[in-house]
């Protein structure tokens, strides 16, 4: 069959028949390790982020000539200096919080990240960024493979997915990641109360301890049920979290609040997954007007990340935290007829955290529409990648997670000079 986005990984389900989520007793272990756990927050900007509206090469004339209605005026950008190729860059005007964090040296941008023959498909693209494998987009997720590499038994809350469905990047061979979009509603309800309710819950827990043999699909659902029931009590503690700052009332803001809560309550989670969507800006992209589509995307991102950064800083947890963003592709350089941009190639990745060596990594594209322009591809229509995205992952795996990137990524993608962490 053709490649599909259905993430039914061969062997993935079967593997669940022989594994299990660790029981609640492991939480003591997790708590003991908790205060010194390094956290990785994987942030997916869904839809294909327009790097050129986020990190603006405001002295490049072609940026303005190719985007007559959606370019951000040079006078509006938040200047953050020049990269190593001396291209002056500015942040989208709504990213005032990220500008502060950048100025504090805790935010890095890795420009022109991508891979050879980059796909323009959302789904194949997301699969490739998730698996870190352009040749096998149906493989396990790279974060999932990292989790699988941890010594067993692995705590059931080693990962925390803040969305309702399992993203490919977290897909593991034998490590389940709970999906907890709202700690307050992550509960086991009952039609009864008192002793009856307790009896029901005990029965559900007892049944969930089964490990059906030779029925991989059923065993998978048993595994999920077991994981859900075994994490309820610890997640309930996170529901009690009182942050030190106010988080925006957006899905993304509330997800970041839950992540901070999990960190503050030291429940032992190592990897979090968060997402914010709407980046597929084919029409009316409007990065300039208040409440324009891209302007709002930046507002959501900026306000959520700033609240998170501030909260963690107040809690003394910033040094333990690294946020890494990705998106399936950047967008076409020239705007289309709908004041939007179509699917493109290389994009930009953000890395934020208390131990990040902030700054601009890699070089900006030259947007001159010359078919021989080496920083572009597709007849100068799209930005050509300069840094393989797996080099960014490798740096995070080796220098932050303390694992072996060559084994997690299936090859050596280390790149000199990419020392943002």
């Amino acid at each position: 069959m053709q490649i599909t986005r259905r993430q039914f990984v061969k062997g993935g389900v079967a593997a669940f028949t022989v594994t299990f989520a660790a029981p609640e007793v492991l939480s003591d272990l997790a708590r003991a390790q908790g205060t010194h756990t390094r956290n990785l927050v994987v942030l997916y900007l869904s839809g294909g982020n327009d790097a050129l509206s986020m990190l603006v090469p405001y002295n490049d004339g072609a940026y303005y000539s190719r985007r007559p209605t959606i370019a951000i005026p040079a006078g509006q950008v938040l200047q953050i200096g020049s990269d190593s190729s001396r291209v002056a860059l500015g942040l989208h005007p709504r990213l005032t919080g990220l500008k502060q964090i950048f100025d504090q040296g805790r935010l890095a941008f890795v420009q022109r990240t991508g891979y050879e023959n980059q796909t323009r498909s959302h789904f194949l693209g997301t699969d490739i960024w998730s698996t870190a494998n352009p040749n096998n987009s149906q493989a396990l997720g790279w974060v999932g493979r990292y989790l699988d590499s941890l010594p067993s038994p692995v705590d059931a809350l080693v990962g925390w997915n803040t969305t309702g469905t399992q993203p490919h990047v977290l897909q593991a061979g034998h490590t389940g990641v709970p999906a907890i979009s709202n700690p307050a509603t992550y509960s086991f309800n009952s039609p009864n109360s008192g002793a009856e309710a307790t009896a029901e819950r005990n029965t559900a827990i007892s049944i969930s301890s089964h490990m059906p043999v030779d029925r991989p699909e059923l065993a998978f659902v048993y595994g999920t049920t077991r994981e859900a029931l075994s994490t309820l009590n610890r997640v309930a503690t996170v529901a009690q979290y009182s942050p030190s700052t106010t988080y925006p009332n957006t899905g993304f803001g509330q997800a970041m609040r839950a992540v901070a809560g999990a960190m503050a309550k030291s429940i032992g989670t190592k990897v979090f997954y968060v997402t914010t969507g709407g980046f597929d800006t084919h029409s009316a992209q409007n990065p300039n007007a208040n409440n324009g589509a891209y302007f709002n995307l930046m507002a959501t991102l900026n306000d959520g990340l700033l609240a998170f950064y501030t909260d963690l800083k107040n809690q003394g947890l910033l040094e333990d935290t690294l946020v890494l963003s990705f998106s399936e592709f950047g967008r076409r350089i020239s705007e289309n007829g709908s004041q939007g941009t179509d699917h493109g190639a290389a994009s930009v990745m953000l890395v934020m955290g208390g131990r990040v060596n902030g700054g601009l990594y890699g070089t900006a594209p030259n947007l001159n529409a010359d078919p021989n322009n080496p920083t572009l591809e597709n007849n100068a229509g799209d930005v050509h990648y300069e840094t393989d995205f797996r080099s960014v992952y490798a740096q995070v795996i080796d220098n932050w997670l303390g694992a072996d990137s060559a084994s997690v990524l299936g090859g050596n993608f280390k790149k000199a000079g990419l020392n943002f962490i």
Partner: protein
């Protein structure tokens, strides 16, 4: 002999096959559906499902009537203009329609041409957004037929015709930005997805095909006829000749039966034919039948890798029958892979399949489908709002911990709501004295995949857990509800 083995043996082979058929080609079976289809042979039942009459579809008139699942109205029930009510109407149809395959195929197409209400409403407003997703043309002053109504009307229609209708569909023209596709700046969004997701699939088209496809559909925009005062003003498809790009467009695959890959340059007045030529070519492309067969396999048969023999068989029926979905679906439901007992209970139930089947199994009197909407969202499925144009991920991805808790908690909510009815039914069955009879009764009512060894004993132990069995009304209500919660929340019930 364990209770569940006895139950499995008690259900005859033919009954089990009919129940399997109704779980997949429908949303499970109400008691009257079991009675109706059990009178038939398997082949007769397939025919009855596939050959539903083309007129006389009156399920909606039972909304709000006693004896049917409830809806919750805030003012006037407005399923043509309020998305919450549109969701309630669709759930109601899933429970009560006597054309289960029509509703099931509508869901299949909704997932296939996955269009999100949120973007349509964000562009046109909530009322208009609902209108272009869900309005019934007979109810609409401008005769707007919302996308889901169009798909429902064509549920077993011709795939090529559905493609033409979807390319002209107002919600689709907003969702994938076709409304702004003009000759000066062709818009690639629809052109890409019509190849990647609706027809041939990744690997069977090239990037230049996407650019050419965008030019083909230039001028497939919207107009707004009608008058505001009588509510007839509405958006609808317009072929805008002045915005059509008229030069020739060449593809990597055959556009015409003679193998020609180029759509010729045409005058703007005739340029709409470009799009029809491309749609015809995509419908007839050799991989479209296979791509559809793969999706039908995952939706109706199994989420394991498709059997290549099945894919080739369905693809060939698709070609021979010139894209007619009725013979295709008949072939799917009569295929040995579908009928095979190994396929029974093998597929992960989607959240709406789970919720609707639970209502049919547990009972619905006094329950409002509105109560199911937030749980469905927590399970990962909001009707009219798939996560993106590729639809729901399905399969194992439904089963995150949060989603599993949402399923268990929905079972709890439903059991609590039906407490009184459940206890009454146990009493009228004359089995309230014997807890194991009560267990057998509910395992029969709420059929599951075969329970794992020992689960039945644990359920039996639960019935005795808080004190001696007396069969009192209070105990029957508590234990019936608790048992229904545990069964419908069990892993074995998450399959269909």
């Amino acid at each position: 002999m364990s209770t569940e083995v006895a139950l499995q043996m008690a259900r005859g082979t033919s009954t089990r096959q009919i129940e399997h058929l109704l779980r997949r080609a429908g949303f499970g079976a109400r008691p009257d559906e079991i009675d109706f289809y059990s009178e038939m042979s398997y082949a007769q039942a397939v025919d009855a499902l596939v050959n539903y009459p083309s007129s006389g579809d009156d399920v909606d008139r039972f909304i709000g009537q006693p004896g049917f699942v409830g809806t919750t109205t805030r003012g006037v029930f407005s399923p043509n203009s309020n998305i919450t009510d549109a969701r309630q109407r669709w759930l109601f149809r899933m429970v009560h329609s006597d054309r289960p395959l029509q509703e099931k195929m509508t869901l299949f197409w909704h997932n296939h041409f996955a269009t999100g209400y949120t973007k349509v409403a964000g562009t046109l407003g909530a009322t208009e957004g609902t209108r272009y997703m869900a309005a019934k043309s007979a109810d609409d002053p401008g005769h707007v037929q919302g996308q889901i109504e169009m798909l429902r009307a064509n549920a077993l229609g011709n795939f090529r015709d559905i493609l033409v209708a979807i390319a002209k569909d107002t919600a689709m023209l907003v969702w994938l930005d076709g409304r702004t596709n003009t000759k000066a700046k062709p818009q690639e969004n629809f052109a890409r997805e019509v190849m990647e997701l609706f027809t041939v699939g990744v690997g069977h088209y090239t990037e230049p095909d996407v650019y050419a496809g965008a030019r083909v559909f230039t001028g497939w925009n919207l107009q707004r006829p009608g008058t505001a005062s009588d509510g007839s003003q509405h958006y609808e498809f317009l072929y805008n000749a002045g915005q059509h790009e008229t030069t020739a467009k060449t593809f990597s695959f055959a556009i015409y039966p003679d193998g020609n890959k180029t759509i010729p340059a045409r005058g703007a007045a005739n340029g709409m034919q470009d799009g029809l030529d491309l749609i015809n070519a995509l419908a007839a492309h050799p991989n479209t039948g296979r791509y559809l067969a793969g999706k039908l396999w995952r939706f109706f048969v199994s989420e394991r890798d498709p059997d290549p023999a099945f894919v080739e068989r369905i693809a060939s029926v698709y070609q021979q029958q010139r894209f007619e979905m009725k013979p295709v679906m008949r072939e799917v439901l009569l295929s040995p892979q579908f009928i095979d007992s190994a396929a029974h209970w093998a597929r992960y139930a989607w959240p709406v399949e789970y919720v609707v089947r639970a209502l049919k199994d547990v009972g619905w009197t006094g329950f409002s489908v509105d109560t199911a909407l937030t749980p469905l969202s927590n399970m990962g499925q909001v009707l009219f709002d798939p996560p993106d144009v590729a639809g729901w991920d399905a399969g194992t991805t439904w089963f995150t911990t949060g989603a599993m808790l949402a399923r268990m908690n929905f079972a709890s909510t439903l059991a609590n709501n039906q407490k009184f009815n459940l206890a009454t039914n146990v009493k009228s069955a004359g089995i309230s004295r014997n807890p194991d009879s009560v267990l057998a009764y509910f395992l029969d009512q709420i059929a599951t995949a075969p329970l794992d060894t020992g689960v039945s004993s644990e359920l039996s132990a639960y019935l005795r857990a808080t004190g001696a069995w007396t069969g009192s009304d209070a105990q029957l209500q508590a234990k019936s509800a608790g048992l229904v919660h545990l069964i419908a929340g069990a892993p074995e019930y998450q399959f269909c």
